[in-house]
Amino acid sequence: MTPGPRRFAAVLAALAGYVLAGVGLLGLGVYAGVDRETQDALAGALRSQAAFLVFGVGLLVAGLGVLVWRFLAVYVTPLRRLAADTRLIVTTNPGHRLDVARPRDLAALGAAVNELASRYQTARGVADARSAADRAELEEDRDRLAALMSDLAVGVLVCNLDGRILLHNAAARELLGAAGRSWVGLGRSIFGVLDRELIAHAVERIHGGADSVQTAAVAGADRLLRVRVAPVRGSGGYVLTLEDMTRRAEAGQRRDTALRALSEGTRAPLAAIRAAIENILDYPDMAPDERERFAEIIREETHRLSAHVERTIADSAGYLTDRWQLEDVRGADLLAAVARGVRSGGEVEASVTEPVTELWLEAETHRIAQAVADLVGRLGVARVALSVSPAGGHGALDLRWPDGHVDGKPEDTVRGWSAEARVAELLARHDGEAWAATDATGPYVRVLLRRSRAEPVTARAAATPTTSRPEFYDFDLFRVTAPGAWDARPLSDLAYTVFDTETTGLAPSEGDEIISIGAARIINGRLLHQELYEQLVDPGRSVPAASQRIHGITPAMLAGQPPIGDVLPDLARFADGSVLLGHNVAFDLKFLALKEAATGVRFDQPVLDTLLLSPVAHPDHQDHSLEAIAARLGVNILGRHTALGDALLTGEIFLRLIPVLAERGIVTLGQAREAARRTQQARIRY
């Protein structure tokens, strides 16, 4: 325990000045009170013995110095630590106790404070227990809801207006997970997992007054989801329910294929049989060899027909029950969506003729709009006029080009477009057709889509009224707006990714590599234990035995793990939109920065370091190791020296530092970064 050098110098200078001034004055008094001869003698003595005088003054100052030093070290510094520790007890950790052995007066004060702390802790325990009981009731409701949610086979997500996820259940995570890893998490953007356009389109329709919108979406490589979007009243947010349609859609397609095979495959032989029989009956005068030939045709085609029916039924058994549903959409809405799709390319003007009669179609609006916009692009027209009209059991979406100019032959363009697997499949699902032709008005392209069988009735969405917050959901995020202006936002409001790495050694520039990364997220002041990131990394080099003793990771554990180049994009995605947080994070960042050129992955969000923030919060403590801070703040230490364990510990510590920092006037991210910068400079100076 050493007092600050500046403070020491100041106290010593003041004290020495005071004593010297006293002695000087005393000397002056004596000097003035004696006769002239004695004065001369004194002056002479002083002059001849100046060395003694200087030595005496030096001795005096040195003596004073020792005294001052002792005083500061024994009384003042412990007093200041005592004050800081008392504050710690009050603000952060009621279990913390003062440890003052000497001097006796301070030890007595320390004991008194400890006594007070014990009573305070007991009293707070009672109060906490009371409020805990109150909370338990709330939590019971909350847990019941969470349990209910997690048991649902349907995926449920609630998002705020910005598309940030406020609630999700296990099914949603599972359905939207890609390659075993889910990017569904509180505060994360829904657009990371579902097509932005698709959701924007649905939300737009909701805000246009629709009660709910049903649409189809593709997740991952091959998963087809049915997505229902409904508004959360009064919040501007929306609820998404997700169902896996992959099997159902497959079943639907197989069923469609089977039906088509049944109808089309039977028509041809039936036509041959019927024509042959009618010929025999209608022309009794036909030659015997002709009659014989028609009889042979009948026999042959009957066998063909039987075999075909048997085969189709065998192939399609089990697929004939389910029904793939498309959304019902007003013709006018579809037109508007198509027009928007066409205009989004920026090169084609689109005009819309509102349908005369209300017309409802069964369509995947967004996909149809995308496909038609693609077709318009291929036609190469500068202006396109869109209209929709009923055509029997179908609706006809017509495209015309008033300018008259078009690239190539529209017939060929449409043929090529509709022959593409993606479009062909889309049209088949809509029982659709497309062609280019010319009528009295001129050339046009027509896309036929099935009409709705009945006027659609949409269900009103049931919003989930609750204010409690288990880890799966956080409705407080409703008020959170888009990130940006990071520095002005309070520390307690921000999203953080707290991470740590284990490495082969301490010198990244000399070839040491990351072998393990652990990360967790902090949202709205809570460390999310359900959204963790933990990944071993093949370092592509040996792991020194010395480092193995620290982290316990052996080369055998790393065999078959992905290289860092594959891992960093994942980590970047995990950390997207959040502040990076770590303990001595500069070390980890150095490793990441060295990989930037090779992987192209850049971590450019703001960074906070608990190693630099802890001295700001507790300037009177010298030890800012993870263990020391944890002990000071009353955080249990578990699983140290695993990347994830250290990341979680750092996260807990950071959450407890926030109120301590606030006491010192550090509330926003900008203030915290500035304070950390000053600590860093101070550390460099020493």
Binding site: S263, E264, G265, R267, A268, P269, L270, A271, A272, I273, R274, A275, A276, E278, N279, D282, Y283, M286, E290, R293, F294, I297, E300, E301, A391, G392, G393, H394, E411, R415, D431, G432, E433, W435, A437, D439, R446, L448
Partner: protein, 123 residues
């Protein structure tokens, strides 16, 4: 009064019946078994009417129909025959230039009637 009828279909059993029917109705017939053959046969045989199946190898009936109209065969009657009974295909057939559309299986008598009516509309 006999006319020249081109039968375009790749299924021999239905071709046999159609040939028989058309001949007994007093028409002269020729047969093409795919889309390319059909275009060539129209040029060489110069029929008054084509019985055109939709499901053909290489070039389907819609394309053949559209091509014939594009090549200027405006007076030629085209009657499309198809095993696909979907409403949208009927609409498409008529849009690309067919004069009539008959779905398999069909009544032979009605087919003959439809052919007769189409040919008579010309006179």
């Amino acid at each position: 009064m006999g006319s020249r009828i081109l039968i375009v279909d790749d299924e021999p059993n239905i071709v046999t019946s159609l040939e028989f029917l058309m001949r007994r109705s007093g028409h002269e017939t020729a047969v093409a078994r795919d889309g390319d053959e059909a275009l060539a046969a129209v040029a060489s045989f110069r029929p008054d009417l084509v019985l055109l199946d939709v499901a053909l190898p290489h070039r389907d009936g819609f394309e053949v129909c559209q091509q014939l109209r594009a090549d200027g065969w405006d007076a030629l009657k085209i009657l499309m025959l198809t095993a696909k009974g979907r409403e949208v295909e009927v609409a498409k057939g008529l849009a690309v230039g067919a004069d009539a559309y008959v779905t398999k299986p069909f009544s032979t008598r009605e087919l003959v009637e439809a052919v007769t009516n189409l040919l008579a509309a010309d006179r």
